[in-house]
Each structure stands twice: as structure tokens, then as C-alpha cells.
Symmetry: C2
Subunit: 390 residues, 2 copies
């Protein structure tokens, strides 16, 4: 298996990008990543596009070819381009496929992009489109939406472990603090625990400020064999692990709904592949689609004891400068969550941090960074570990 490195990375701004279409934003991110890598489009020999639901959000499937076309890589160059989908983990899996394409030797310069345009339909339409990430026959059809599903996880976490609303709110407050220093973030505003607790209730115990927003955005990275990386950049970021796991799609079939087994298993596979332990990781971008999701994630990845994720969030251990900075980018909560883009945007943040280019949100001296991207309520999890040392 060939080792793999990232040599270019870019995101668009995240937010309500009403003047730009899906194809516009993917091309913007892709060209940004190509320019960042200092390569020509002619060198690209494979493309992967992570997108959850172009079909339902903008009535467009076949996004791989569409994006190759609008990037100028179809006519003449005929670059193979493939869409990958696993709900909100689509971006992470697009990256994983690009890594495998390069690792296999099928590709020498692959681009992994993630994108979603969610604000072109009504918010109830978006909620319905998103609910297709759950089990339609057992969850969606009963009216279960994702805030409702994660609220059930939160309720049980509170009951089993004494997790509090303040602890949940602390996650949102910390992510907004980080996001204030991220130019691409949808929300760059400081919030307080009191504001979170007084914001409108979406699904008890989750207030609106516990929820990531509906967003537009795109991100892209350029992946090459590690042995070639220094030809492109003097700061290549090496992929130390790319791991994925599945779990039951419906919540009611899990052995314990407060633990995302797909995260636990993908995390274990990633640590093993990298030959590292949780203590080696300097920062982690986790999938905080809701505040409870970050709490579960840091427990399931080993950054907090099971049941203590809320405690360590409230006491500051996950802040910048804390024991383990979690979501230095601002996470899904502050940056926004264009679902297919998120997994790639997490990788862009890891690259930015490991290059030492993260400015006021920099994790000082970071050597190993992890990203964690979840599909649905945890039926898919994908974990990557990156390093600035080969």
C-alpha cells in the first residue's frame, strides 16, 4: 500500500450562499485546492465528490461528472470523477476513496471534494431531505427528524451519566469561540451558556444553539503519493490512517444509543493503522452536528471517560490551550454544516493546523491531528489521522 499525503487544501466560506450554485462552490473549492498545491488541472487523474443529496436539495444527481465538467477536467482530459455518499459522512468518504485510489496506484494525483447546497429549498424541505439519512422505513416514516433522534441520545446520556444542559451548552460556546477566528465560519459570534439555555427549544433538551445550522459550502484537498509530496510543497501533510465503520442505521437497533459504536470501531482501526494512541493526538475535529454529538464523540474516541464528556467540556479541557483541543475550526456548530462538505472541511482544518497556518486558532506545536465524520445518527463513521511528519 502506497503512503499518501495531502498537498493542497481549500474551503469556500460556509453560510447561506444564495448567489452561488452547487457547481459554483465546488469549482471554487477545487480550484483553490489546486492552486494551493501549485499544480495544473492536467495533472489530476481522479476526482471524488462527497455529496449527500444533490437529488433532493437541487434536483441534480451525477455530480462527479458535472463537477469534472465545470472544472474543465471533462472535455479533453476526461478525468474519472465519482460521487460518494454516506449522508453527512459523504465528505470523509470521498477523501477516503481518493486516498485508496492513490494508495492502489490507480491514481497519482487525486482530488477529493465535498459540497452541499442546502438553502435553495425551504427549511422543512431540508429537514425532510436530511431525514433520508435515517432509516426511512423505521424512523423517517414515523416523523423522526435528526434533532429528535439526537435529543433521545441526549436524554439518555443525561439520565445515565448526569450530563447537564450547561455541559451541552459549553460545547456550543467553545465552538463559537473558536469559530470567531475562522474566516470561513458561518457564525463568528460569541455566545454564552445562558444564551444557549434561553434559546428556543428545538427538541428537548436541544435548544437551537445546540444545533448546527443548514448551510451551503464546499471544500477540497489534493492527494498524492507520499514519496512525491515534496515535489509539490515543503509542508506536505501525511495521511497516517483512514478508517471507516458501519453500525445499524436505526437507533433502536443499537446496543446502547449513548455510544456510537461506529465511532468507537473506526477510532480503534485508525489508532491501530497509525500505530498511535489517543495520547498522541494533539487536536481533533469531531462531528458536532449537535452538542451531544461532540460529547459522545470525545468519549467514543477515548478523549474522555465514558459519561464524562460533558464534564470535560464544561471545565475547559477541550478548549484551545486545553488538554485536548476539540474542533479548533469552530466545528459544525460555528462553521456551519453543508453536509457533504463537512468531512473534507475537517481535513482542510487539519492541514491548516498541521502546517501551522491557523492564526489565532492555532494549536501550538501540533504534530498529529484527527478528524471524525459521522453519517446519520452514527450508522457511518470515518476517522482520519494526519501528521506533518512522515
Amino acid at each position: 500500500m502506497r503512503e499518501v499525503a495531502i498537498v493542497g487544501a481549500k474551503t469556500t466560506e460556509f453560510g447561506e450562499l444564495w448567489e452561488r450554485s452547487l457547481r459554483d462552490i465546488v469549482v471554487e473549492a477545487g480550484i483553490g485546492a489546486i492552486e494551493d498545491a501549485g499544480i495544473s488541472g492536467k495533472e489530476i487523474d481522479a476526482m471524488y465528490v462527497g455529496n449527500m443529496s444533490g437529488g433532493r436539495f437541487v434536483e441534480q444527481e451525477h455530480l462527479g461528472a458535472l463537477i469534472a465538467d465545470y472544472s474543465g477536467l471533462a472535455r479533453g482530459l476526461h478525468v474519472p470523477s465519482t460521487r460518494v455518499e454516506a449522508a453527512c459522512a459523504s465528505g470523509g468518504l470521498a477523501l477516503r476513496q481518493a486516498i485508496q485510489a492513490v494508495a492502489s496506484g490507480y491514481s497519482n494525483v487525486a482530488i477529493a471534494a465535498g459540497a452541499e447546497k442546502m438553502t435553495d429549498i425551504s427549511s422543512s424541505g431540508a429537514t425532510d431531505a436530511l431525514s433520508a439519512a435515517a432509516d426511512r422505513e423505521w424512523e423517517g416514516i414515523q416523523g423522526a427528524t435528526f434533532p429528535g433522534i439526537y435529543a433521545m441520545i441526549a436524554k439518555l446520556h443525561m439520565k445515565k451519566y448526569g450530563t447537564t444542559g450547561e455541559q451541552l451548552a459549553a460545547v456550543a460556546v467553545k465552538n463559537h469561540e473558536n469559530g470567531m477566528h475562522n474566516p470561513i465560519a458561518q457564525f463568528k459570534s460569541k455566545i454564552t451558556i445562558d444564551q444557549v439555555l434561553k434559546s428556543i427549544m428545538v427538541s428537548d433538551p436541544l435548544h437551537i444553539l445546540d444545533c448546527s445550522p443548514v448551510s451551503d459550502g464546499a471544500a477540497a484537498v489534493v492527494v498524492v503519493p507520499a514519496e512525491d509530496a515534496l515535489k509539490y510543497t515543503d509542508k506536505p501533510i501525511y495521511v497516517k490512517a483512514s478508517a471507516q465503520a458501519s453500525d445499524t442505521i436505526a437507533l433502536h437497533d443499537r446496543r446502547d444509543i449513548t455510544t456510537l459504536d461506529a465511532t468507537v470501531v473506526a477510532g480503534k482501526r485508525a489508532y491501530e493503522m497509525a500505530g498511535l494512541t489517543v495520547k498522541d493526538i494533539d487536536f481533533v475535529e469531531v462531528h458536532d452536528c449537535f452538542t451531544i454529538a461532540e460529547i459522545c464523540a470525545i468519549e467514543d474516541l477515548g478523549f474522555a471517560e465514558k459519561g464524562k464528556g460533558g464534564v470535560v467540556s464544561l471545565n475547559g479541557e477541550t478548549k484551545l490551550g486545553g488538554r485536548i483541543p476539540v474542533n479548533p475550526s469552530g466545528g459544525l456548530k460555528s462553521c456551519g454544516h453543508p453536509v457533504g462538505a463537512t468531512g473534507v472541511k475537517q481535513a482542510v482544518e487539519a492541514v491548516t493546523q498541521l502546517r501551522g497556518d491557523a492564526g489565532k486558532r492555532q494549536v501550538d506545536g501540533a504534530k498529529y491531528g484527527m478528524t471524525h465524520n459521522v453519517g446519520g445518527s452514527g450508522a457511518t463513521a470515518v476517522v482520519h489521522i494526519f501528521s506533518n511528519e512522515r
Copy 2:
């Protein structure tokens, strides 16, 4: 790059499977392929699911995890599972990703499945869902449907090369003849050129019997490293080439709409990868979503001179026993075209032929078989070459 082989293959029957859901048919095909390979589900370490539009046909995205779950591979085993989409080429690309996963060393036993459930919505709904494979902003929004798009290709082919309605019809007649011997085919009826020409006009010059139908169905294959293949079966089928190419998604941007450049380029890449020429190929399964598509395909892959695809179809060169048997399975026309399943079903046919198990539709002594799967009107093409010799 590790060489790769197929050791298990299965399709469901294709047709209007109203009593079975999408998840039912994928699991049926997957279990069939696993049983055919004589392996246990526990050995599987990666899964790819080709599906065009679960979101629009059955309101279900996140199909990778869903299928892992309903196959018993999620809980406990947590097998990574990824959906791949490129419109009607989704199945071919799912196979290609499984091949890359094994070639890279990320996987040792991968399953590639393809599936679509198209008959649970109205036929106008299905036509609209399918039109999302074209460029929504330049084609779909103008009312262009796929019969209309392929009719334009047919009209120009007739004008430039003198192709006739009889020649188009001969493709359908031959594919129905072959499909009569295929137990999974949706239509096992013999038809005549006269019947095709007298059947109702869908989009001039394409009659309804020039068109593949709306179908339900699923197919799956098990992919392993070539060096391990004889552990599983005494008739492994080796993957000699897996090649993909993109083109402009909208027809009006092509240099010549009667040539699918993505097919030409994917074909060239495949011949080069396999170290073979068109003369080495013993049979080919091409993407005959419409009769004109088969005529373009055999020209673009080199089995007929440009402009002569209609002539060789009418004079019998593409029949079983002819110079180059095309679509011995019955093709999309007779077998049906559950869009995400088709690319994998073509591989199942290649495996069946190369094992010598195709019964009355057997291509005698076949050593090399090719499959050709197209997305949309040719923005994506994927070509595989298989052999029963390593």
C-alpha cells in the same frame, strides 16, 4: 498494485418487483454472491453499493450503511460500506471502487453491489428522477428527458451515417433473442423488426421497443486479491482492466454528439491497462439504454467502424455466434435497467460467460469479456475487461 479477481456473483431477477423493497433486493443479491463465493459474511471487510437515486425513488439516502445493516454486517462486524453514484453508471463505479479497495490493500474481501427500486413511484416521477442524471440547469430544466436526448443522438447518427430505423430495431430484436435464455430478464419475449417499428413512438425516431424499461433489481460480486482467488473457487474471473472517463454532462457541449468520448477514452484506457486490443475481446456487454446507445457503443469501443454500427447490427455480426456477440445477457433492453444495478449485472454476466455457465446464451470458448456502463448521455463511462486466465 495488487491484481484482483471475482469469486462470487449473483443478480436478483429484474422486473417490477412490487413485493420486495430496495433493501430486500440488495440483500438477496449480496447473500447470493457470498454463497456463490462460499465465504462467510465475517470475511467481508468492505462493501460498495451503486445506486443512482434512492433519495428520489424511495426517499432513502445513506444506502451503504443501510445495506450493511440489513445484511447483518453492521452490528458486531461494523463493515465499512459506501454508496457510489454516477447515474446509470453507479454500479460499474461501485465495482471499480471495490477493485481499488482490494488493489490498494485496504480490503481483502470486498463486495460490490448495485441496486435500484424504480417502480415504487409513478412513471412520470421516474422519468423526472432519471432526468437528474443530465445537466439540471441546461437540460432538465428545459424539459429534456433521456428518451429525448438519445433521440437527438439517433437523428444525427441517421443524418450523418445513413443509419435506419430497421438497424436500430435490429438491436432490440437481437437483445430480446438473447434475453429469452436469461432467467433474470424482465422481458423474455421474442420481438420482430416490424413490431419495433410499429410500437408507439416515444421520441422520434425511438419507439418504445427501442427503449430499455423502468425496472427493479440488484446484483452483487465478491472481489478478492488474485493471489487468493483459488482458495475460494476453481473458476476465478480475473479483472484485467478497470477504466473510467468523464465528458461534458450536457450534450450541447460535446464536439460530436454521435460519439461518446467518455466511452472512447475509457475503452482506450482499458485496452491499454489489459495489454489487449479490440480483436482479443470475445464478447461485450454494452450500455444499450436505447438501441442507438448500443450502436454508438460498439463504434466507440472499436467493434464497428464509425457510422457502421447500425449495419453490423442488422447483418447479424453482433448476434450470439456472430463476429462479436454484443449483450449476450439480453442487455438493458431485455433484462431491464434498474439503473444502479446495471453495471454490476453486466459483470455478473461476464463472470457467468467466462465460467462457461451461460447455458443457451453461452459464447463458446470465451476468454476475454468486456463490460461498458454509461452514466447519463455519456458524461461517465466505465469499462472493465475480465478473463478466466490470469
